[in-house]
């Protein structure tokens, strides 16, 4: 997310006001947690696929990331159909697959993938500056917002420093083993990473103060909701309400 390649696409979702995208994402994500029927979950999943298509993210990028998510989901498929109580649909020796177990696994898969695709297409089409501005205008604490933004900015730098330290360890023939020396070395590395992170945060603060920062961020582009944003918000709200109603109806 927040990758230049995604953000450079000039698509409908990219042009929407970030506050409405955050709102739509939160509403849909909350709804996903409440759903219990496969049909409604399927509808949300199709909706998230539609958002991905609208955001014009390349298929390979999506698949690469979905593999990681679904690896985790696979664990549920390996356990739930065999352990969840319910009507048996297949039995071989001590293995017993239940209908409810399969449905439950399918529900988890649909929910997990929908939430991921929505996050990817809705929140991923917001630049970090827009995200900061949107969160502040949604009354999130400025401190928390800056924390989110700076974490995003400096994660790559810390990752680079971690790589440098790992390279340095390898260059000095370090091979991790299950012994005290290895654990001590790894602890030193993590400790040093924290010290470096602290030192860098101090320098960044100085750099900001040197450029006149007095505790308030200004943005080049102000947020201004247009008709299309309100329409998107209303449609999202309606969609969430209808699906919740249908889920309740079909559950009975």
């Amino acid at each position: 997310m927040f990758e230049a390649d995604f953000l450079s696409n000039k698509h409908f979702l990219r042009r929407l006001d970030p506050r409405f995208k955050i709102f739509a994402y939160l509403a849909l994500a909350f709804e996903i947690t409440l759903l219990e029927t496969v049909t409604v979950c399927m509808a949300v999943f199709l909706c998230s696929v539609l958002f991905v298509l609208l955001s014009k993210i390349t298929l390979s990028e999506i698949i690469k990331r979905m593999v990681a998510v679904n690896f985790f989901v696979l664990l549920f498929w390996a356990v739930l159909p065999f352990t969840y109580p319910g009507e048996s649909i297949f039995r071989y020796s001590f293995l017993n697959i239940t209908r409810e177990g399969l449905i439950y696994s399918l529900l988890i898969t649909l929910k997990c993938n929908s939430a991921f695709l929505l996050l990817f297409s809705l929140v991923g089409s917001i630049t970090s500056a827009e995200l900061g501005q949107a969160l502040i205008s949604l009354r999130l604490s400025p401190k928390l917002t800056y924390l989110i933004l700076f974490t995003w900015r400096y994660l790559s730098v810390m990752w680079m420093e971690l790589n440098i330290m790992t390279r340095s360890l390898k260059a000095r023939s370090f091979e991790p083993k299950n012994n005290l020396f290895t654990y001590k070395t790894l602890a030193f590395m993590v400790g040093m990473l924290m010290v470096r992170a602290y030192e860098r945060s101090r320098r960044v603060k100085w750099a900001m103060e040197a450029r006149g920062f007095e505790g308030r961020f200004y943005s080049l582009k102000g947020l201004c909701a247009q008709k299309r944003d309100w329409a998107f918000g209303a449609i999202s709200f309606l969609f969430v309400a209808i699906l919740l109603y249908l889920d309740g109806l079909w559950r009975l």
């Binding site: 927040f2 630049t127 700076f150 750099a207 450029r211 006149g212 943005s219």
Partner: protein, 249 residues
Amino acid sequence: MEVIGIEGLYFSYGNQNLVLNGVDLSVASGEKIGLIGPNGSGKTTLFLCIMGLLKPSSGKISLFGKEMQGERDFRWARRRIGLLFQDPDDQLFCPTVLEDVAFGPLNLGKTPKEAEEIARKTLSFLGLEDLEDRLTYRLSGGEKKLVSMATVLSMEPELLLLDEPTNGLDEETYERIVEILNALNLTCVFISHDVDFLLNTTHKIYMMKRGRILTDGEMVAHHHVHVHRLGSIHHTHWKLLCEGDGGDE
């Protein structure tokens, strides 16, 4: 007018040895000064003290003819000073290049439109227009350095403090930075280990050693011609002779 006036400046980090050990420095308007010296001699610390980011244990700092009494005075001075940090990753924290270059002008009270205009003008002056929509963390080392320079210049400073502006740059970017700095009509202090760079960009070179500044009277940098293999490739010589101590590698 004296832009920087420092008298008897002392500073130490916690209870460690003195990093600044009675620094005296005077920089007049329009002067370009080079500061050279071994690692740990207090060059960067001196810059941070001038900006009021570190508080010296004693000594007097005057900027633009006004003695700095506290944070309020330093805030006033910072608006007129451009400080370039050694590591561009410390300097660039906004997501895109344009936003980072506009950060300073916005803090100076410019409207978003004015700030954007200044940022574009500065990027164009440095020949970096193509980078304005790029993510700062995705830039190459040389690009980061040039963009950092843009973030400083966009504040239209009267005094430039540059900490290792040519550190780790390829020859082309190095030449470009020298060209840019020579085109600027500002009061400047440059920290560098590169004597060639300082000779090309400054009027005077001072040496800093053990927390003190040894001025022209004690150290003289001079041009000379020499021959050796691969001499046409940009290079640095480290042998500096100082009166009284016989040399410094």
